[in-house]
C-alpha cells in the first residue's frame, strides 16, 4: 500500500456504501486528489453496510426518498449488482389495507409500479406463506436486493482507474483540524492530510467524527435485530441468491427475505435500543463486527412467534436453525431523514450520514453534485443537515426522538402525527395563556404552537352547518372542526394568532442592499418601511425558500421565514454573505415574539390600544411602522397570510406577555378569538392560495410554474436569475392551481376528506403527467370554510390548468370529482384582496 498523501482536495472518511458512492460521483464530476480512508479493512470495514440486509423497497410517501431510491436502483443496475425479486408488503389488518390504499397513491405519483394482491396471489408468488394470517398485500415488482460491498468496490475501482482516487483502509481519524471555522486537515494514526474538503460518511460513528471538528451530526445508532434461519430446502433449490419476493409483514413490523438457502427475518418491533457512538466496540474488541452486537433474544420473543405464524412450514421446520443472529446497528435521525450537506458549524466539512443501502448511490450523486455545483438534480431539502435548530443538534434531542421513531419504521404514520418526546422545549410568552384557553399544541422546530383552542368549542354552535365535521377517523385524526369555526370567527370579527415560532434574522451593514438584491428574486432596494414577499432561488432558479423581507433602515433588513425553515435559510444567507465585514447577520428568533391580529375588526382592536394612526391611509398594506402599545415600542407590519385586514406585531420577547394580555383584554369588545395554526397554516392559507415551502415550493418547480413570477424582472443580478429568465421565456410545463372537491361521498356513503398528497386524475382515471415527467398530485389539502369547499393545490399541465376544468382526485383507492377553481396565484376567496387592503 502506498503512503498516505500529505495533501488532498477532499478526504472522504468512511468506506461503506455512502463513502464509496461519494468518491465515485466526485470522480465522475471531475474531482481530483480524492482520498478515501476507513479505520477498518476493505471491502468490509465493519460498519452498517457490512451487515445490511441489502434490499430496496420503493414505495414511500416521501418524494425525496422515492427519487433517491429510484436513482440508487438505476445505479446499482448499472454496476450489475442489482437482483430484482419483487417485494410484497402484507397486511394482517384492515387498518393496514387502508394504509396500502394511501401508499398506492404515493407509488403512482412517484412513478412506481405497485399493485394490490389478494392473499391467494401472495401465496402463488410465495408458496410457503400462510395466507390465512394476511388480508391482502401491496406488491411492487421493482423491489430487489443488491450486493452493496461489491458496488462499493466497483465504485472505488472507477476512481482509482481514473487516477483521481486513492483508498486507504486501516487508517483511523484522530482529529479534524479547522482554521477560522473552515476545514484544514484530517489527522489520522498514519499521518496528517491537509485538505480543502472533508466528508464524513461514517454511518453510526459520524457524530463522533464531527465532534472532532466542533460540528454536530445529530443521529443516534440503534439496534435492528435480524436472524438468519436455514438450511431451508425450498430456498436452497432456487437459482442464485434470491428467487422469491421479499415479504414485509407490516403489522408485526417484520420482514422475511431469502438469502440463498436461508431466510433472514428482521424486526423493527422491539424496544428502541440506543447505543452511544462512543460505546461502539472497536474492531478488535467486537465479537462479530463493531456494528453487529450480540443478539438479545429476549427482545425477539414475540417476533419468533410472528415469524412462525406467517411462514410456519419453513420457519417451523426443526431442522432449520438460527445460524446467525445480530443486534445490527443502524443510524436513526430525529425526523427520519438523512443528514446531508455542509455542516452548520464548519465550512467545507460535509455530512453524508444516516443513509441506508437503498439511498446510498442516489445520495452519493446528490451530495457530489451539491458539492460541485451548489445544487443537485434531486432536491435534498428535507435531508439538509442545516434544518436543525441549535437545540436539536445535540445528543439529547436525537436520543429522545429516535427512540420514539424506531417503532414508526414500519408504522402507519399520519401526515399530521405529532412527536411526543422532548416537547415543551421552546414556548412563547403566551404559552400559559394558551394553555388556559385549552390550546391543543402542535410542534414546529421545537416550538409549541396552538393548532386550535378547545375553548372555541362554543363557536361550533354559532356557525352551525358551516362547520363540517369529518366522520372518518383517519380524516379527523390530529384535527378538529373547531379549526373551521375559528376560521369563520376570524373572518367575521378578529382573531389573534401566536406566530412566535417564525424565524427572524436581521441583515445590516454598508453592503446590505447589494447583498439582499443578490439573495432575493424580488426587488430589495425599496422604500424604508416596505415589506416584500419574495422567492429565494437556488443557482438553477428553482425554490430554495420563500420568505418576507422588511426594509427597516437604509442598511437594515429583517428576514422573516418559517420556524422550521429558519436554520436552513439562515445558513443559505450566511453562506452567500460577502467575504468582508460589509454585511452582518443576526438571529433575532429568540429576541422577538410575534402576534398576528387579523379580521375585519383588526383595525378597531389595534386602534383601541395605540395612539398611532392605524388607518389605511396612514398605514397602508405592505408597510411597517413602529408603534407604541402601553408605552412599549413594537414593530407592526401590515400583512396577512390568511387574507384579512391586520398586522403582524413583533415584540421584544420579555414584553410579549404584557402586550398579548393587553390585546386580548381590549379584543373582548370586538369579539376576539384565539386562532390556531390550523387556520393560519391550512384553511386561511388555502383559501388565499398561498404557497408553502416544501409543499408547493421545492427545487423541482420554478417561480413561473408556481405562479410567483413578478410582472417584471429586476435589473439587479440575483442567485438563480438565469434559470428564472429561462423559465419566463418557456411555456411552463405545469401551473399551480387551486382545485375544489365537488363531492366527498365514498362508495360506502361516508364523506371523505383528502389530507394532501393525493394523485390528480383525468376524468378517465388516468394519471396526469407534465412535459417534464412530473405527475400531478395535491401538494396541500384542507378545508375552505368561507367558500364552503375542500381545497386542493396541485400543479397541472397547461391543458388541464383551466378554470372550470373537471378532474378527479384519488383518495384511498376511490375517485372524487374536483374542479379547477383558480389558476396561478389568484385566490378562491376574495380574489381581489379587498379585505386585506381595506
Amino acid at each position: 500500500m502506498s503512503q498516505l498523501p500529505e495533501k488532498a482536495k477532499v478526504v472522504v472518511i468512511g468506506a461503506g456504501i455512502v463513502g464509496n458512492s461519494i468518491v465515485y460521483h466526485l470522480a465522475k464530476l471531475g474531482w481530483e486528489d480524492i482520498v478515501l480512508i476507513d479505520k477498518g479493512p476493505l471491502p468490509n470495514p465493519g460498519g452498517s453496510t457490512g451487515h445490511a440486509s441489502n434490499f430496496l423497497f420503493l414505495a414511500t410517501h416521501s418524494k425525496e426518498f422515492a427519487e433517491i431510491t429510484l436513482d440508487s436502483v438505476e445505479q446499482y443496475k448499472e454496476l450489475g449488482v442489482f437482483t430484482q425479486c419483487g417485494g410484497i408488503e402484507v397486511a394482517r389488518t384492515e387498518e393496514r389495507m387502508e394504509e396500502f390504499r394511501r401508499l398506492m397513491g404515493s407509488s403512482k405519483k412517484w412513478g412506481i409500479e405497485s399493485r394490490y394482491v389478494t392473499p391467494a396471489q401472495v401465496k402463488e408468488m410465495v408458496p410457503f406463506i400462510n395466507e390465512e394470517t394476511i388480508v391482502g398485500g401491496f406488491y411492487t415488482p421493482g423491489v430487489g436486493v443488491v450486493d452493496s460491498l461489491q458496488a462499493g468496490t466497483l465504485m472505488r475501482e472507477y476512481g482509482e482507474k481514473k487516477g483521481v482516487l486513492s483508498s486507504f483502509p486501516n487508517v483511523e481519524v484522530m482529529d479534524i483540524e479547522t482554521e477560522d471555522g473552515v476545514v484544514k486537515a484530517v489527522v489520522t494514526d498514519k499521518g496528517r492530510i491537509e485538505t480543502e474538503y472533508a466528508v464524513i460518511a461514517c454511518g453510526v460513528w459520524s457524530p463522533r467524527i464531527a465532534k472532532m471538528a466542533g460540528a454536530a451530526i445529530p443521529l443516534t445508532p440503534q439496534v435492528h435485530q435480524m436472524i438468519s434461519v436455514g438450511p431451508i430446502d425450498v430456498l436452497a433449490q432456487t437459482d442464485g441468491e434470491i428467487g422469491y419476493p421479499i415479504i414485509r409483514d407490516m403489522d408485526t413490523f417484520m420482514y422475511e427475505r431469502q438469502s440463498g438457502g436461508d431466510m433472514e427475518v428482521g424486526s423493527y418491533a422491539h424496544r428502541a435500543i440506543l447505543i452511544h457512538p462512543d460505546d461502539i466496540p472497536s474492531i478488535e474488541e467486537a465479537e462479530m463486527s463493531p456494528t453487529e452486537l450480540p443478539f438479545t433474544e429476549e427482545d425477539f420473543e414475540a417476533q419468533f412467534e410472528h415469524s412462525l405464524e406467517i411462514m410456519p412450514d419453513i420457519l417451523g421446520d426443526e431442522t432449520a436453525g438460527i445460524r446467525h443472529a445480530i443486534n445490527g446497528l443502524l443510524s436513526l435521525t430525529p425526523d427520519g431523514y438523512p443528514l446531508l450537506g455542509e455542516t452548520t458549524e464548519v465550512k467545507k466539512l460535509w455530512s453524508v450520514a444516516a443513509v441506508w443501502i437503498k439511498e446510498g448511490p442516489g445520495t452519493g450523486r446528490l451530495v457530489a453534485e451539491w458539492m460541485t455545483h451548489g445544487v443537485s438534480d434531486i432536491d435534498g431539502h428535507h435531508s439538509d443537515i442545516s434544518r436543525f435548530s441549535n437545540y436539536a443538534r445535540g445528543e439529547y434531542h436525537s436520543a429522545q426522538r429516535t427512540a420514539e421513531a424506531f417503532n414508526k419504521t414500519y408504522g402507519i404514520v399520519h401526515p399530521r402525527e405529532q412527536w411526543l418526546s422532548n416537547r415543551n422545549v421552546r414556548v412563547s410568552p403566551f404559552f400559559q395563556m394558551q394553555k388556559d384557553l385549552g390550546a391543543v399544541f402542535f410542534e414546529t422546530a421545537g416550538w409549541e404552537r396552538p393548532q386550535w383552542y378547545e375553548s372555541n368549542k362554543k363557536l361550533l354552535a354559532e356557525f352551525g352547518d358551516r362547520v363540517v365535521d369529518r366522520p372518518n377517523e383517519w380524516d379527523s385524526r390530529w384535527w378538529s372542526p373547531i379549526i373551521n369555526a375559528e376560521h369563520l370567527a376570524m373572518r367575521q370579527r378578529v382573531g389573534m394568532v401566536d406566530l412566535t415560532a417564525l424565524s427572524i434574522f436581521d441583515v445590516k451593514g454598508s453592503g446590505a442592499v447589494a447583498y439582499m438584491e443578490k439573495m432575493a428574486m424580488a426587488k430589495m432596494d425599496v422604500a424604508i418601511g416596505r415589506g416584500v414577499y419574495t422567492p429565494i432561488l437556488n443557482v438553477k432558479g428553482t425554490f430554495k425558500s420563500d420568505l418576507t423581507i422588511l426594509r427597516l433602515g437604509k442598511t437594515h433588513y429583517r428576514v422573516i421565514t418559517g420556524g422550521s425553515d429558519g436554520p436552513r435559510d439562515m445558513k443559505w444567507f450566511n453562506d452567500n454573505r460577502p467575504g468582508d465585514d460589509s454585511v452582518t447577520i443576526q438571529d433575532m428568533t429568540s429576541a422577538l415574539c410575534t402576534i398576528g391580529v387579523w379580521g375585519p375588526k383588526a383595525r378597531d382592536l389595534m386602534q383601541s390600544v395605540t395612539k398611532a394612526d392605524m388607518s389605511n391611509e396612514a398605514f397602508p398594506f405592505g408597510w411597517t411602522k413602529k408603534i407604541r402599545i402601553d408605552g412599549v415600542e413594537v414593530l407592526a407590519f401590515r400583512i396577512s397570510y390568511v387574507g384579512e385586514l391586520g398586522w403582524e406585531i413583533y415584540i421584544p420577547m420579555e414584553l410579549g406577555l404584557g402586550i398579548g394580555q393587553k390585546l386580548w383584554k381590549a379584543g373582548q369588545e370586538f369579539g376576539v378569538v384565539p386562532v390556531g395554526i390550523g387556520v393560519y397554516g391550512t384553511t386561511g392559507r388555502l383559501e388565499k392560495g398561498y404557497r408553502l415551502m416544501s409543499a408547493e415550493l421545492d427545487a423541482d418547480y420554478n417561480p413561473v410554474e408556481a405562479g410567483l413570477a413578478r410582472p417584471k424582472v429586476k435589473k439587479a443580478d440575483f442567485i438563480g436569475k438565469e434559470g428564472y429568465l429561462q423559465a419566463r421565456a418557456e411555456e411552463p410545463a405545469a401551473l399551480l392551481c387551486t382545485l375544489t372537491v365537488e363531492d366527498h361521498t365514498s362508495k360506502s356513503g361516508v364523506k371523505r376528506y383528502m389530507q394532501g398528497g393525493e394523485p390528480i386524475l383525468t376524468l378517465d382515471g388516468e394519471m396526469i403527467q407534465d412535459a417534464k415527467g412530473r405527475y400531478s398530485y395535491a401538494t396541500s389539502a384542507g378545508d375552505g370554510p368561507s367558500i364552503g369547499k375542500h381545497i386542493l393545490l396541485a400543479y397541472l399541465p397547461p391543458q388541464h390548468a383551466k378554470v372550470g376544468k373537471k378532474l378527479l382526485v384519488e383518495y384511498m383507492a376511490e375517485n372524487y370529482p374536483v374542479t379547477v377553481a383558480a389558476v396561478g396565484s389568484t385566490p378562491v376567496f376574495d380574489p381581489n384582496n379587498e379585505r386585506m387592503k381595506a
Binding site: P281, E284, E287, P294, E297, E301, F304, G321, I322, R323
Partner: protein
C-alpha cells in the same frame, strides 16, 4: 439412558480481551454469553444419545440467574430438563464440583452418564468433571471425541498425538467432551419457543471451602505476528515450493 450435561456460562470474546477495571472479570458490555464450544458439543451429544437410546437429557449449570440463558439454549437444542445451581457469581472449581455432586445426589433420577466440556472456555481449569467423578466414585474419561453405549457400558474414544485411545467403562460414568465429537445444531425457532416454556429446577448451593482462589486476571501480551509474505501472485510460487520442501511437506 438418562444423561446429565454440565455447562458453564462464558463470555464470547472478540480478538482482543478487555478486562473490567478491577481485573476480576472480562468486560462483557458488548459481548454475548454462551456455553463453551466443548460444552455445546456435549449438549449435542446428550441430545443424540437420548434420540438413539431413549431416556432423558438434563442440563445443569452453576452460576447467576443470567445463566438461565445458557440452560434455555441447551433446551432449544433439545435438552429435556434444566437445573440451575444459583450463585451470586462464578465459583472456583472445588466448590463448583462439590455443589454439582450434591445436586446429583439429591436428584431422584439416577444418571447413566455425566457429560462435561473438556475444560471451560474462559478459566480452562480442567477440573470440575474429574472432581465430580471422584466424589461420586465413578470412572472418568477425558477429552472424548467419540462415545458409544451398549448394554451398561460405554466405549469412549479419545484422540492423542499417537492415535486413538479407546476406553470401555461401566456406567454410570463421567465423560469430558472435546469439540469435534459432533457438529452441534443451531437451535430452530420452534426449539426457541419450547425452551422458553421449560420449568427450571433452582437449587441454592452452599459454597464452603473455596480451595483455589482468583487473585486477578491478566491478559498476556499478544505474540507478535510471525507471518512472512513470500510474494504476490504467481511470482511467489517458487518460494512457496521451497518452503513446503523445507517443511517436509513436498
Amino acid at each position: 439412558m438418562d444423561i446429565l450435561v454440565c455447562i458453564k456460562r462464558v463470555p464470547v470474546t472478540g480478538a482482543k480481551v478487555v478486562l473490567t477495571a478491577d481485573e476480576q472479570a472480562i468486560d462483557a458490555s458488548y459481548l454475548s454469553f454462551a456455553p463453551g464450544p466443548h460444552e455445546e458439543c456435549a449438549i449435542e451429544e446428550a441430545v443424540q444419545i437420548v434420540k438413539k437410546h431413549g431416556g432423558s437429557s438434563t442440563a445443569l449449570t452453576l452460576g447467576p440467574d443470567a445463566a438461565v440463558e445458557q440452560l434455555r439454549y441447551a433446551a432449544s437444542m433439545g435438552v429435556d430438563d434444566l437445573i440451575l445451581l444459583e450463585t451470586d457469581e462464578e465459583w472456583p472449581p472445588m466448590p463448583t464440583a462439590r455443589a454439582i455432586t450434591a445436586a446429583i445426589q439429591a436428584q431422584e433420577k439416577k444418571f447413566d452418564a455425566l457429560l462435561f466440556g473438556n475444560e471451560s472456555a474462559d478459566a480452562g481449569g480442567y477440573q470440575v468433571g474429574i472432581r465430580v467423578a471422584h466424589a461420586l466414585g465413578m470412572p472418568v474419561v477425558t477429552g472424548i471425541k467419540k462415545l458409544e453405549f451398549e448394554a451398561g457400558t460405554a466405549v469412549a474414544h479419545r484422540q492423542t498425538p499417537a492415535g486413538w485411545e479407546i476406553y470401555e467403562v461401566p456406567l454410570p460414568a463421567v465423560f469430558t467432551i472435546k469439540e469435534g465429537i459432533n457438529v452441534p445444531r443451531y437451535p430452530s425457532i420452534p426449539g426457541k419457543l419450547k425452551a422458553k416454556k421449560k420449568v427450571i429446577q433452582r437449587i441454592a448451593p452452599e459454597e464452603g471451602d473455596v480451595g483455589l482462589e482468583k487473585v486477578r486476571l491478566v491478559v498476556p501480551e499478544a505474540e507478535a505476528s510471525d507471518v512472512t509474505i513470500l510474494g504476490h501472485g504467481a511470482a511467489a510460487a517458487p518460494q512457496m515450493v521451497e518452503l513446503l520442501g523445507e517443511l517436509g511437506l513436498v
